[in-house]
Symmetry: D2
Subunit: 299 residues, 4 copies
């Protein structure tokens, strides 16, 4: 990354009132900061205000820690607490340095299309992240993962509660060792236990192969086929303890018709799953996704 491309990204949310934009923009201007991208949103339902600001790092004479320290009183005066966990889930405010490379852990099962797509994007230089680890409850995706120079961990899952708990403990151990910015459930077929949903709030991202809230749970393409829908979809969302009910980051659909069998729908749907997941992950890693009241603001 060229120094001129390095950014400090400020995300911020608080109850709306007049003068917030002036206060934040004024602070940045006083510090000499050069804003290269700015977005604002007020949610009339909840009365909350949200903003995201990208400041050129080289326009400020100090580092991100100093910026956080100086911005703290501004945020406090506006009623926002620092989001020390850093998760988009409990947004108040945070500042991230794009000079810190993003780390991602990917959880998979047997279906490779989302993983291959992510690896291809990393290899093509389009998704600028470190894939710290891929963890599979099966090992069929090990070879291609390793061919990309990425560690693959096979963690078999039993069917009884005890062995599942043990497997998830191992998954958590490997994942947490990487301290990832995102944990991607790339068609991982196991339901995260509640304690991991909480521990990874705002960082665990799932791709569900339907246009939620349609077709929650297992075999959504089968459900879609039975209902005779004319479009199938995919939904990228944050993982919460309630299955397939987390805040939605991105969705898209693709047309199907009576001539499409379930395998056809599965195949066509994959193209949407891949792109919806890739968009959602990118936006998350760029701190574009703010969560409030179970919904997302995507700047």
């Amino acid at each position: 990354m060229h120094p001129s491309e390095r950014r400090y990204v400020i995300t911020f949310g608080c109850p709306d009132r007049t003068g917030i934009v002036a206060r934040i923009a004024g602070f940045i201007a006083e510090e000499g900061g050069w804003i290269v991208e700015a977005a604002y949103h007020t949610d009339p339902d909840t009365g909350w205000f949200f903003t995201r600001q990208e400041v050129r790092a080289d326009s400020l004479p100090y580092d991100v820690d100093e910026l956080r320290e100086r911005f703290g009183p501004v945020a406090e005066s506006l009623g926002a607490d620092e989001d020390v966990e850093g998760g988009a889930g409990g947004l108040h405010w945070r500042i991230d340095d794009t000079g810190t490379r993003r780390r991602v852990v990917v959880l998979v099962s047997k279906e490779g299309h989302c993983l291959y797509d992510l690896l291809g994007r990393v290899a093509a230089g389009e998704l600028d992240v470190d894939v710290s680890a891929v963890i599979g409850n099966h090992d069929v995706l090990a070879d291609v993962t390793r061919a990309h120079g990425i560690p693959f961990h096979h963690v078999p899952f039993g069917t009884d509660a005890a062995s599942k708990a043990e497997a998830f403990a191992r998954v958590a151990e490997i994942t947490d060792a990487a301290d990832p910015h995102a944990i991607v459930l790339a068609r991982f077929m196991q339901i995260l236990p509640e304690h991991l949903c909480h521990a990874w709030t705002g960082r665990a991202i799932n791709i569900h192969h339907s246009f939620l809230p349609s077709f929650v749970g297992a075999k959504p393409y089968h459900q879609a086929h039975v209902r005779g829908v004319k479009l199938v979809g995919a939904t990228c969302h944050y993982v919460t303890a309630e299955l397939d009910a987390g805040p939605i980051i991105e969705q898209d659909v693709i047309r199907v018709d009576h001539g499409d069998s379930i395998p056809d729908m599965v195949r066509k749907g994959r193209d949407i799953e891949k792109v919806v997941l890739a968009r959602g992950l990118r936006w998350h890693l760029e701190n574009r996704v703010l969560v409030h009241a179970g919904r997302t603001v995507v700047f």
Copy 2:
């Protein structure tokens, strides 16, 4: 309509077996019929075969009644019963003459966008039908309807069961007098009683303002907003006794984001409602929609 544009449209469904295409195409060829459009579909789930054939009327030396009489034994030999009701709901086979102008009755309430869109399409010559009547449980759409030279019937609905039944009896009377090919519920806010769902099977078409099966019932845009979806949709479907559960003819979606209030979603959704209804109605009137096992084949 120029004589060379007049068609006999054959739709046909029966359990699949070898030789059906040859039998039907052979019959048409023997009669000297010129097929201008032909479509086939076999549903592997139900083992049923469907076809739709358009034959130039001027390629046959007799009229549609004679064609029906000659085709009867062919259909019978393949195991299909004539669909005397003529509804797409109970498809076996039918033959329609495009020289008979289609009649449509439209049921409305206060929201005019779908009605205005249909009237505009008729006025522009794009939808070649007679709108026999528009029936409203309110009268706010009377003036524009009448400006298009179309009768508007105001049938007020009470809130108790008896007055609703009386109102529906009046709606049925006006509707049945027109013997329409389609009864369009263009944002009609009353739920059809079961006996009318049955009487109008395969002819009553509803536009629902969500991507079904998401957000069944009232206020789907509000439901969508609460869930934080990134696309809103519309569904055109045949009316059945189970609310919003009839065979789906067409669906489409439009993108929304966190900046869209519920009124914004309502407004954007209307553009999809209009076009989805217009497409579904056109396909129905062209005998392109075949219903079997609760789903549609759209040729």
Copy 3:
């Protein structure tokens, strides 16, 4: 309009530098203004900065003229000249009051679908404008226009230069009498003379029935059919002296296939023309479209 829904809309463009957001937001905050929507954009190619701010009118103790007067020195200090013409074409800055109802003049020929769509949106209360006049070089659309209570002016166009010039003089006279915020060429088949392109810069909006820059000029659907494209499109753009080359406000496409004849493409394309024009016009009337260097910023 409820007083709380009235807005002062500030649009602003100038060469980028640090502190612009702070300066503008600071000014609004000092005046006590309540910003309900704000958008910013910096174009790295041209080095220009753009913003659009919606302020609640009832949050300021004075009217829009006073706001303009006070804002003037702020804008001047940032290097922007007031855009006295008010056109989006020559943007520097302007402030509009949404309490002033928008006026629109529509130019048509024989094809009614875009006009009917606009009239339907006005009748449904979705497009909150006064259609001051509809002017047609043919009179086939007169009846429906008048049924909506809107004056229709038939201005026949001859084929020689002199009679065309005379007809355009009449069109300009009727149009300018209404002092409209937008002049909509709703499938108007005459090419505006250069002096009207200049006089109406930033206010004359055309709908072209192709995905520009494909298929400039006449009969774009025919051109599309010959080339065998798989999507047809529509483009809403500001009119400039160079044919079909003005700044693009909005575009969309719809899928076609080998089974679609040219009339099918025309029919399908209309659904896109209508919605693209309606979106573009709405954005224009809401002062969301800023023009610079031949391209638009749509906030």
Copy 4:
């Protein structure tokens, strides 16, 4: 492939006349063939008729050579010549056996996204082909290709005519040795010489990163940015001697806005390039694409 999934695919085109469907369907029925998919199209512009039929291989008591021999006289009687070259380019008729595994050669340069996408689809079992070889004029994509177990050939291209000719001779040698069903130009940055366009007619498939006919030639995203379009597209087409003018197999678009820089457009466009190429290639390999008069019929 399970024997019951093996198909003989008949594609056929001839000047339209009555009785063609009956003749072909009758032939198949007499032979005892079980048609699992059938499509027909008549092009009113050219007066040509096209069909594609999938017959279960296990429903016929003989092999594909025998079927070709028996079908020959039927086709001849209808005026179609056997398409011995087998290319979709010069369609008359052909019969292919899906039991013969498809072979593909991919030509690349430095940009890997389309190649990675194809390799991912093959690895995921979604695209059931043998990638016989990948040929690059640079070697940056060699490692990932070989990690998938596929031979990578680096054929450097000079800048003078002689060295280009030499390089193309080597490309042709490697390609022709594989006798591929498709030669995919997956963002290959060299223009095929005319003799290879001819030799590979109907088999060479290119992905162009614009919505053709917009932005022919080099740097289409730059051209799109300058014009300020609101959608960018991709086009999959057969290669012909005229640059970017071959028959279009598939197209799609994705929305961009004023906030998208050229690199953003490049990145977003890639998602469309990949999916458009994958669809086009699949349809080609399934013999769904028939070419006539410079346009495609895609069944």
